[in-house]
Symmetry: D2
């Protein structure tokens, strides 16, 4: 391991006015103590801040409990929930820190554009063409649409919730490979809008595959890094359906031993 | 790199009632949408949550702008601040993802106790005795007091802000080694209470060394892992004086090349 | 004025899981300091709490700046807004404490039901039949649908945003009477869903008439109090588009002198 | 009742950077949806905001459960509390909307200054001299220090928590009159600092008298309105130890009938 190998930062920054899906509570920030408000002995002062946000705002991971169908989540677990403590099972605190092989599928690159149009559906054919390496069980598969470039303008990035993403066939292509998580650089991993949210249902509820959203994949694509070590530690919020995380990608991490799923996908909680 | 090498999780969980220093806004959580509140087509439902917290609550890193002395922060940077956007310089967003050599100094272990008493000052002598490997420039140095064991009871963990930590001599021992960051498993990296906060001032303002607090170092100590690869990506909040992070420690990461500070400590922002 | 005359409380309570319109940040609550966490001299302890919420959550008033049309708000004021400070004009801080004649129109009562069905549109005919007293310029006009009875169950109350309310004709009936504000006991003063939000646009943008939502009008209706003194002081949030308020209704306040609008409706800011 | 009689607004505004006692979570604000982020049919757009704050921030009332002594609150009620739901008894939701006789004691005026010095203790002698009318059972008694003039500068207003207020003798002067609530224009109704908080303990725990803080009494004093109708409706937060409120004072409300406490002070919850 070469400590001088700077990782790629796949997270987006947090700031007032940053994009958020309309139904999720936005990011609030305030400096809550200014330097000088209180003066410690010897002239020292400190400043501090506070934030508030939805757990699906900014770069984040969806816990499997984020979606359910007819009252059950992945693996047939019945929904048990309270406002005060969230989900009794499959919360984001059940996701261990993630250290896995990551694979980039540069869909925008394959399509020959910087940014996919809003109505672009990612199909199995696009996925086949963008996959430069074989996808293996347990991998993290990231689809680049180029929308990270729009992130600084909330209006463009949210775009009335219209945006590119996989449809159900694309989702099936991913789930058949028994991956650990799928992600993209958009606010919803879904050809949007689709009120039925079929990709979320198929991945989270039917397949036990996590979803990572609002990534920044621009630098990876620019450097043509299609295979990497993916390291991410979600904020460990008890019972939550999602959490911020700031994933890192290490190119050329040296010889990497495969990490198959030790059991059916999604069941490997607290791995 | 062996993907099967599970990293140590050095972060504490977030939950209602978790400990917080009295002057920092505590952690709030609520499930904001329950499964079933809205039903998507085909019977799918989703749930989501929101959180609010101070940036120095839970496992977190102090940006250099957290403290100032007589109106200036580290490197002579003048304090420029607004409530709405925080600090113009030395914010937590200026800290690149951290991939560095980590070193554990098990002070409680050296003292022969599970948990250091609240009035215990960590001195250079304790540090000398606990350092099983040589500390190098650019390292992350973590001091174990054993207080992570008290974390589940906010009253004990905060303890009227009385707790063990280094005094100014301990801080000088650390800064003389030109490390990147110092951390511990307590709420304040400081023999507390000390209203002058000399350790914070010496490390953050005078030495440009970050502070990481509220760590969980129990498992590392139990396994006698005193040297490791330390990987952490602070939540990237623009202008903030601190941020949550969930550090990982990889034992035996293979041959590790030294990573000296490329410039005087603290100045290597956006490295 | 008889101090023993207990006012009617027209506000709903705040609690975790209380109803909120999906696009508005929900209510968060936590006790942030427990009795006993810190002990003052002589055995005294204190407890404290924190909350977070959208400004259009719970019983609240819409500032005129809540809606705009083609870039302009009421009175032709151009939208000027920042994330950090909200609206430069027509913010909720421009609404003086409200002390006006209030009038209840019990639409559910006229319709002969406890709770209006979700698809019920309130028409001028309903308004005519429910108005037991003449409505005058500057009045507060409150329409009862009975939905306050559903408030304790967020799912029923929000009901996929389908609910009873006036259509555009009902809104015109109200605006022609030059009232100060219109209100109801539902989450949206609008026959919902209607993505064009014509009632909000007509009242707020075209007519300068405020909207008050999520009221509790049950007790007033039960006691057949159709005319009252309406007193309410919105939370004075600088630049906000809305604010919580807890209106009081005083029945039989003694002789009440008319309070006409001193100028075209809506322009009487900072009255 | 003359609707043209404009009430006095005794509340302070909310804005980023507003003063807050260091141990209470500060006020956060953000416009969370801008006009134009989403466009409704026909060109309409809406904007909305969110806030977060401690319940003892800004103009607020202390519930009797805010303080306890040796595990019991007023009336011998044992402390029962959870992080998620606050206090089981004596929460702010047990305070009915307040409609009572208010009395202003202009201590700064009596002292011949605009603003009382930070170390000024309000004594029974000051109270005697400032009371221009007789105080009666059930009244709201407001003490003016002039500190409302400092409110726009958080540093001055908080002043390292040093500020004027009554000592224990002043508190006893008030409690002997069996009033409903005492208030002032400072952040703490207490000669501060006094770590034992004797005035809070005496009023809240021993006497069942509420405390109202961060008032603005400047206009009342300027107009020499020493007796008035006091109307205030605290934000109705279930289980909370305090809540924002924006009190109104009506001068010359006409003949006012006395409103004695129907039972020992403080026990008249849900009156």
């Amino acid at each position: 391991m070469d400590l001088n190998a700077k990782p790629y930062d796949l997270g987006q920054p947090y700031f007032p006015g940053m994009p958020h899906y309309p139904t999720h509570p936005p990011f609030l920030y305030s400096l809550t103590k200014r330097h000088g408000d209180m003066v410690h002995a010897l002239g020292a002062t400190s400043a501090a801040d506070a934030i508030a946000l939805g757990t699906h705002v900014g770069t984040h991971i969806d816990a499997l409990s984020h979606f359910s169908c007819n009252g059950v989540c992945y693996g047939g677990r019945k929904v048990e929930q309270t406002y005060e403590h969230g989900m009794a099972e499959l919360g984001v605190d059940s996701i261990a820190p993630i250290v896995r092989r990551g694979v980039l599928l540069d869909i925008a690159g394959v399509a020959g554009v910087d940014v996919l149009p809003a109505d672009f559906e990612i199909t199995p054919d696009h996925l086949d063409r963008a996959a430069t390496v074989e996808i293996e069980e347990g991998d993290i598969v990231l689809l680049r649409t180029g929308w990270a470039r729009l992130f600084s303008d909330a209006r463009q990035y949210i775009n009335n919730t219209i945006g590119p993403g996989p449809g159900i066939e694309g989702a099936r292509w991913l789930s058949s490979r028994k991956i650990f998580a799928a992600g993209a650089d958009t606010v919803a991993f879904e050809k949007s809008p689709n009120p039925a949210m079929p990709v979320h249902v198929h991945l989270l509820v039917e397949s036990g595959i996590h979803i990572i959203e609002v990534l920044n994949l621009e630098q990876l694509a620019r450097d043509r890094v299609y295979e990497f070590l993916f390291v991410a530690a979600p904020m460990n919020i008890r019972g939550a359906t999602g959490a911020p995380l700031r994933p890192l990608a290490f190119a050329n991490p040296g010889p990497v031993r495969r990490k198959p799923l030790s059991s059916p996908p999604g069941s490997i909680l607290k791995e």
